[in-house]
């Protein structure tokens, strides 16, 4: 009842929607970087949106199945191939015992997700199956996958009803420039008017100083009123920190739970998938919107997920 990893890819980990309730103890939430992609993959194979799947980064894995199951692949296009024939993204497809599913390098996007009907049978640590690399907990032995690993399925399904209907339109995220909507705060008052303008009107470039904890951007420096340091406070997913160098850092899934740099803004939860699919060299802009609009966008996405759940469960 397993997936056998033949080739792990650059950084493949098991992730769900994260570890909730332990940030107060200093435990990073972890979880999929592109939560929408993982959720959609799960819904396509009839799982709850928050089941654990595989997150691949920049280069994909190759794996063999020892039992039949139903699989869906979402997120960046890593050119998935089943026994030599390409399979579409955002569509559930069956696999048989002995089948090989392999992924190449990212054609577009940065992170690709694979979900499996019935989910993955790994221990739940502090309420989550997500891998926390720094602490070595969760997922498969608390680490990234390597060749030879065998990951169990919880309840594989040889068959799902309406398999032909389990697909969505896949839109290739082609554009090299992305606009990320932000809500200003909590420490936007640490910055000058000119600094806020710089932040909102400049183009920033994704650098290769990027991992599951955070992503450093390059571009014009954001000017402080006095200093970069604040008394440490909590850090939400998507917070934009401005350290003393003036260049933004986006805080992501494996972020530390508290920090002492001023946070000028927070990227909308609905726009984070767009960001985490960027590669080094890609350009981004920030656009300020109101809390009301931000929460309306969040609610819209939630309703869309509910619709998918109704359709595929």
């Amino acid at each position: 009842m397993t997936i056998r990893i033949i080739r792990p890819g650059l950084l493949t980990t098991i992730q769900d929607l994260g570890r909730t309730g332990f940030q107060k103890f200093g435990v990073s939430p972890s979880g999929a970087m592109d939560r929408r992609a993982l959720s959609v993959a799960n819904l396509l194979v009839g799982n709850a949106a928050g089941e654990a799947g595989l997150e691949m980064t920049l280069t994909g894995a190759e794996m063999e199945f020892t039992v039949p199951n139903v699989v869906a692949v979402t997120g960046g296009n890593f050119a998935p191939v089943l026994n030599g024939a390409s399979v579409p993204l955002c569509a559930a497809f069956p696999v048989k015992a002995g089948d090989t599913l392999s992924f190449g390098a990212a054609q577009n996007g940065c992170r690709c997700y694979a979900a499996f009907a019935g989910g993955l049978n790994v221990p739940v640590v502090m309420g989550s199956k997500s891998t926390n690399l720094k602490c070595g907990i969760g997922g498969f032995e608390g680490r990234k996958l390597k060749a030879g690993d065998e990951i169990g399925f919880s309840a594989p399904a040889a068959y799902l009803p309406d398999l032909g209907r389990r697909f969505l339109d896949y839109r290739e995220p082609k554009e090299k420039e992305a606009t990320l909507r932000v809500v200003l705060g909590p420490q936007d008052d640490c910055f000058t008017e000119a600094g806020l303008r710089t932040f909102l009107e400049s183009t920033y470039t994704v650098t290769n100083r990027s991992d599951r904890m955070g992503c450093a951007l390059d571009g014009p420096k954001v000017e402080y009123r006095t200093k970069a340091d604040i008394i440490s406070d909590g850090i939400p997913f998507g917070a934009v920190q401005i350290p003393s160098g003036g260049k933004p850092i986006l805080m992501l899934s494996d972020r530390q739970t508290t920090g002492g740099y001023a946070k000028i803004a927070t990227v909308l939860s609905t726009d984070l998938p767009l960001f985490v699919q960027r590669k080094a060299g890609d350009k981004i802009h920030f656009e300020k919107i109101s809390m009301r609009k931000a929460q309306a966008a969040r609610r819209r996405e939630f309703r869309e997920m509910l619709k998918l759940q109704d359709k595929f469960l």
């Binding site: 909730t20 200093g26 907990i137 929460q295």
Partner: protein, 244 residues
């Protein structure tokens, strides 16, 4: 209790801020607010993160909006008093000081002009407030160390400080809950595990608790370590009325 500011922290969190200083009074309000929010069981609130001077409240905007949640929190803040955080809870952490357990104790003694025994006595003579947990799972930001114990951090940080190390860096002291690089000076080691992901309560203490260090000799260290390894050691916890 007034003086709370509500700040946006994206569409799924907000920060309730009680001041802009590290003080027992402000941190006490944060802890009282955290307790009040948890007790109120507000639908949609998923998680809270108390820190030095603010409480991050994570929530699901599908269930509750920023505006409605802010009103609820202001209502709770108006009714807060310091006792809301509950009685003072002191968690006793046994520590074997010096020797191979605290390689830098001699240096700390030299740098502070105290004897090793004096360093140990001063370090173990206080209840340290846990202002917040962060940096690593179970890493406690402690306040209230005797200023006479302040020593500069190491010029070159160690690659790996073992889990359980008790250390001093600048005017701060703390316990490393897991192995980590670090530049603090090691004065001792505790045989208990402040963080154990397999334990039912993975972290030994909460923000708002106090820590008291109890010096122990090496044989007791080894005895406790055996018990702790089997999950059979319980830290002594004293609870006293009088608030945090």
């Amino acid at each position: 209790m007034s003086g709370m500011r509500i700040l946006a922290a994206g569409d799924c969190a907000l920060s309730a801020e009680f001041g802009n200083a590290i003080s027992e009074e402000i941190n006490g309000r944060v802890m009282a607010m955290d307790a009040a929010v948890r007790a109120a069981e507000i639908p949609g609130v998923t998680e809270t993160v108390p820190t030095y001077r603010s409480l991050l409240v994570c929530y699901d905007p599908y269930v509750i909006s920023f505006g409605v949640l802010s009103r609820r929190l202001r209502g709770l803040a108006r009714k807060l008093d310091a006792s809301a955080a509950g009685p003072k809870r002191v968690v006793e952490i046994p520590v074997c000081y010096g020797g191979k357990y605290g390689e830098d104790l001699a240096d700390v003694a030299r740098l502070t002009g105290l004897s090793e025994d004096e360093v140990v006595r001063l370090h173990a003579s206080r209840d340290y407030r846990i202002y917040m947990l962060g940096f690593l799972p179970g890493f406690a930001y402690l306040g209230g160390m005797d200023k006479r114990l302040a020593v500069p951090r190491l010029a070159t940080p160690r690659q790996a400080i073992p889990a359980g190390s008790v250390a001093i860096g600048g005017e701060q002291t703390g316990v490393y809950p897991m192995a980590s690089p670090g530049g603090w000076r090691l004065i001792g080691m505790t045989p208990v595990k402040p963080y154990d992901p397999q334990r039912a309560g993975p972290i030994l203490y909460h923000a708002g608790d106090f820590i008291r260090f109890r010096p122990i000799p090496e044989p007791e260290f080894q005895a406790i370590q055996k018990l702790a390894g089997r999950g059979e050691y319980q830290c002594r916890i004293s609870i006293s009325e009088g608030g945090r």
